[in-house]
Symmetry: D2
Subunit: 355 residues, 4 copies
């Protein structure tokens, strides 16, 4: 059997661990071959690929990024060519066929798996491996990369504590999460934040300011705020991610900046804000992420060997299961307002800016 593999979407700690586990399991356990396509689906369309040997994946387990490269805007069904947007899916299938690919393992998030699903409808065998920093992909309880992002964000909260305390300031940390506040919720809880602002829980900065003032009355002359980039101020998102969209200003520190300025004006304490940005994606994966990525890689190959297709490996509780790929696509996980972690945070005095 000959497997193809690609990594799509934003990079994420653990991608190399997945690739390593796929290659090792395929070669050592099943005697399969593995072909790696470069830069996500772009490599499938442009026919950039190479066989992956045990030697190729040696030593990559602890490394961030992906040795295959990735791309987050190369949809073969709407492919940007010099002549404009084209459907290059037939070319992609032809290339896969020319490499003798029996099944394609697609490591990626919602966008990547949606494309995988469309290829499946055209007859390609695919097994998906879920990947998202934000942990908001449907069908799986957790994705690799999230634990690392959470660790980076928590360390940042830890660091901000000393400045907050020493200067009697409000320190605002903006973390990833355009639609889902998982990183903000977890890092806020783990870092001992006083206020956590999420896209899923409607809040007002007036109420957040009241929370800061309640702390002042208890003798705490500082506050730590963790805010997800997708949190809405007055019902509107204010983040602007890219530097190259000519119709929009560049990223301005989005919501974190607005939160800092508003709280400062309301409360009269100095405020500063920090945007973690890409630091959350980089660096060596945590043990949890290395292990989850390895499990996903192993189970994907095992599923392929068992004749499965159109499935995605997923974490359910402590176990790896296969779910329909369709279940994962367009079905994002959000923080429910009465999620147990939210209730836990409220019980220990964290404000979500809503009361």
């Amino acid at each position: 059997m000959r497997l193809g593999i690609l990594t799509g979407g934003g990079d994420c700690p653990g991608l190399n661990a997945v690739i390593r586990a796929v290659v090792k399991t395929a070669v050592l356990d099943y005697g399969f071959e593995v072909i790696g396509f470069l830069d996500g689906f772009k490599g499938v369309v442009e026919n950039m690929a190479k066989p992956l040997s045990l030697e190729d994946v040696s030593g990559i387990l602890p490394r961030g990024g992906t040795i295959l490269g990735t791309s987050n805007r190369d949809n073969p069904f709407k492919y940007r060519t010099p002549e404009g947007i084209r459907d290059m899916s037939a070319q992609a299938l032809e290339n896969l066929s020319s490499w003798g690919i029996d099944l394609l393992i697609t490591v990626g998030g919602d966008g990547t798996q949606a494309i995988a699903l469309k290829f499946m409808e055209k007859g390609l065998k695919v097994i998906g491996i879920p990947k998202t920093i934000d942990n908001d992909l449907g069908g799986t309880d957790q994705t690799f990369g999230f634990d690392t992002a959470r660790a980076v964000a928590t360390e940042a909260v830890d660091r901000l504590h000393s400045t907050a305390e020493s200067h009697h300031r409000i320190m605002v940390l903006e973390v990833m999460g355009r639609d889902a506040g998982w990183i903000a919720l977890h890092a806020g809880l783990a870092g001992g934040a006083d206020i956590i602002l999420l896209p899923e829980i409607e809040f007002s900065l007036e109420k957040a300011a009241k929370a800061v003032e309640r702390r002042e009355r208890m003798g705490k002359r500082f506050s730590i705020v963790v805010v997800a980039e997708g949190a809405r101020i007055g019902g509107k998102k204010v983040y602007l991610m890219k530097v190259d969209d000519p119709t929009q200003p560049m990223r301005l520190g989005g919501v974190g900046r607005v939160v800092a300025k508003t709280l400062q004006d309301a409360v009269g304490l100095e405020a500063r804000y920090t945007i973690l940005g890409h630091l959350q994606r980089g660096g060596s994966p945590t043990p949890f992420d290395r292990i989850l990525a390895t499990r996903f890689g192993y189970h994907a190959v095992k599923a392929a060997a068992s004749g499965e297709k159109g499935k995605m490996v997923a974490l359910k509780g402590n176990e790896i299961r296969l779910v329909d790929l369709a279940e994962a696509v367009g079905n994002p996980r959000r923080v429910e307002p009465n999620h147990e972690l939210v209730l836990t945070a409220r019980a220990i005095g964290v404000s979500f800016g809503d009361e």
Copy 2:
């Protein structure tokens, strides 16, 4: 309501996070009072205790250890006194009563919860919070502290890689786990170890040596071995933990040393060994452990407020549940030889020294 709390057994990252969550939830969410007993059950017998305020638990979330102190040999039912071993449980109950304790939260492992269970039989209301570095306590899928220990051990494996490769050596890392090999299994998998030796999987060093030789034939002139301290050589444990047992030599590097020497002699590569020891217990807890500890603390108080007793908070899948305290005691979790992580490790080429 007035809650008592104590931390028993070996220290463990996350204990302070538990104490903080218990106090914050009790005071802020329920208006309860909390009395902290010092040095585990010793403080109950000796009546060393103090009220815990919000100020007492401020800033302790990221800190290792326990502000209450702990002790791992002070069983009130067999208490060491100048006059010999005595049953001091009546004194302990009297002390608890004199402080007006309605319910005692016992944070600890198997030993601590077994004592809690005996006090429960004498009429004391108790809620247990599970704690063990080794992750081998029954009744719960995971305990806080384990993720941190795994992180420390994985970082050690990462560090040993460079020496192993540069010197073409066998590097042996001995990690905690007297009866259960969870840390060795996880850190070995996360760190990319070549050989993992566990108490639960019978192995021979001859077969482990063969695994090293197979690697040499593939051009890999080094190997990383992770071994749990309780792994058996020829069916016998060789670890010796304490420095104060007059009848025995002090800890000699136990099994790690034997593994290193035997592999060196068998294979002809230089071997070195390292014993992680207490480094696995110390330092700031990981975000996962801080969050799990916080959840445990919150749910323990909630359970107490709901009139529960004789229960232990536990992680089941992703959820916190209450289980009977008895379920946790004397019911250790072991690595099943066909555990999914073992199969995953085997699939990617890890040897368990048994084939």
Copy 3:
């Protein structure tokens, strides 16, 4: 003898280590008393102070921030009062006198030491301890805090590498340094940056873009740029630090954003930028910083005991020396364009955007 101590200016890893060393040396080695003034010179004017015992400084060595609090805008000579700007120096001296302070140890940067110098002219005995994240204070080869800031910035460069490589992007990291590029130079060199942009070396983004293109021609489809916040684009600084200046927009990601956008437009590779900001100030100091801070604290007390005044402790090569406080003030250290580190960086292929 009774010593006063205060920490002024921006917080900095190692301040607590200084306070600890001053108190321990004073109490244990000389039998002196130490009074800590709160929030920098503000505490001197407002008479907020407290005796510092050994217990007060126990356990603070590894902690970021300062237990005394700090302030970076409370100059007693131009003190903001409800009635407007006033000279409160006489009040400050009276307060010091009322506490029986024989000599004041001022831990701070250029601003703090300039104030100390003015007090000295009014008859106050002072010993300065140099502090600046940026390492640009005159009179000393290095200040504590810099090694930690460099470590945080280098770790960030390490993290950005994986995204840069996986996505074939230009990743821009903006680090501290309004007037001096030491952090950018060191972190760029330590992190393996391809381009380093400093306030002290005139550069053009056209030339920086050429450096990116040279890398592309060598098959390197990514570049890492480290830029000091005070680097000038077209001869002008573009950073805007505060969120509270009504006459100016809030900090917009200043120079990092401009560099990213310009390089992206010029080269055609995607660019992203990250601003480290306050993360550089926070968290546990590195061993170097803990040791240097401890040495400074010890030598400051020793100098006081020897009858010295108007001096600053300083690192010269490997030794701690006393220099005139005046030497440190208004005499900033800059990166000379032919500094050995710059030459080293150029030799290994780093571009400074100037050729």
Copy 4:
């Protein structure tokens, strides 16, 4: 010009940074070629070598170990062959000549540089680059690797603090340093150890026990001891490093174990000990070590290009200088009993077990 390079002796964080800087400077700045010899002088004798290109050194800056491999017992003048110990230096010179090596850069410690010196006497041009974890090499103020080892050891002290405090124990950490106590002194000072035991300062465990008791009287029911592996108990070293010497027992935890047991028996507090061992050598170098290694690499090539030979690059204060290779050999740096760091430590209450 064609340069040879080898790395000899124990591995050390920063070796790859040196190799990278040598190759980059040689190729980019001077147009030289570089040949890497494998496994230290063994590669010179056995003629195992390969040209090093820019691609070979890409990405190795942050990695521990050495891509060239190393060896610490292959002296060409006393080379172990199947026929016994032979002088293979002529063979080595012939091999170097066959590769057209104009000058050999020897990266290593005392042993490696002593061999380099002997080759120099036979007419080979050499430039040495100093390397030792222990920081005890003569001729240079500091070597790369030391800052990383100190960081690992300090982190270990930090971790042991929580167990020490929670359990009221004496925690003993044994660190590297057979003849020189630099790591113990620095990590002890940076980690806030209470007692530091060095090879260079005669101590008695009775006096160390008294220091523990003095702490107990001040209410400190725990102590942290950092001991260098080469510290002498009763005038004798007790460490045993290798697992393969048939005439001696394997390493038994040497001095750390003896210190723990003796203090426990003397004071009546529980004691535990930890041996850091190889963890001090591994992993990613700190920014300081990466920069120092890069500077050494650059200056070595520059010296070679200038016609220098028989020199070693060295750090003197803040500057890189050339010293005679002979100056570094057989001239170890020791901790003087009145070294400023020792006086600093004493002033803040650290005991060296001698009073």
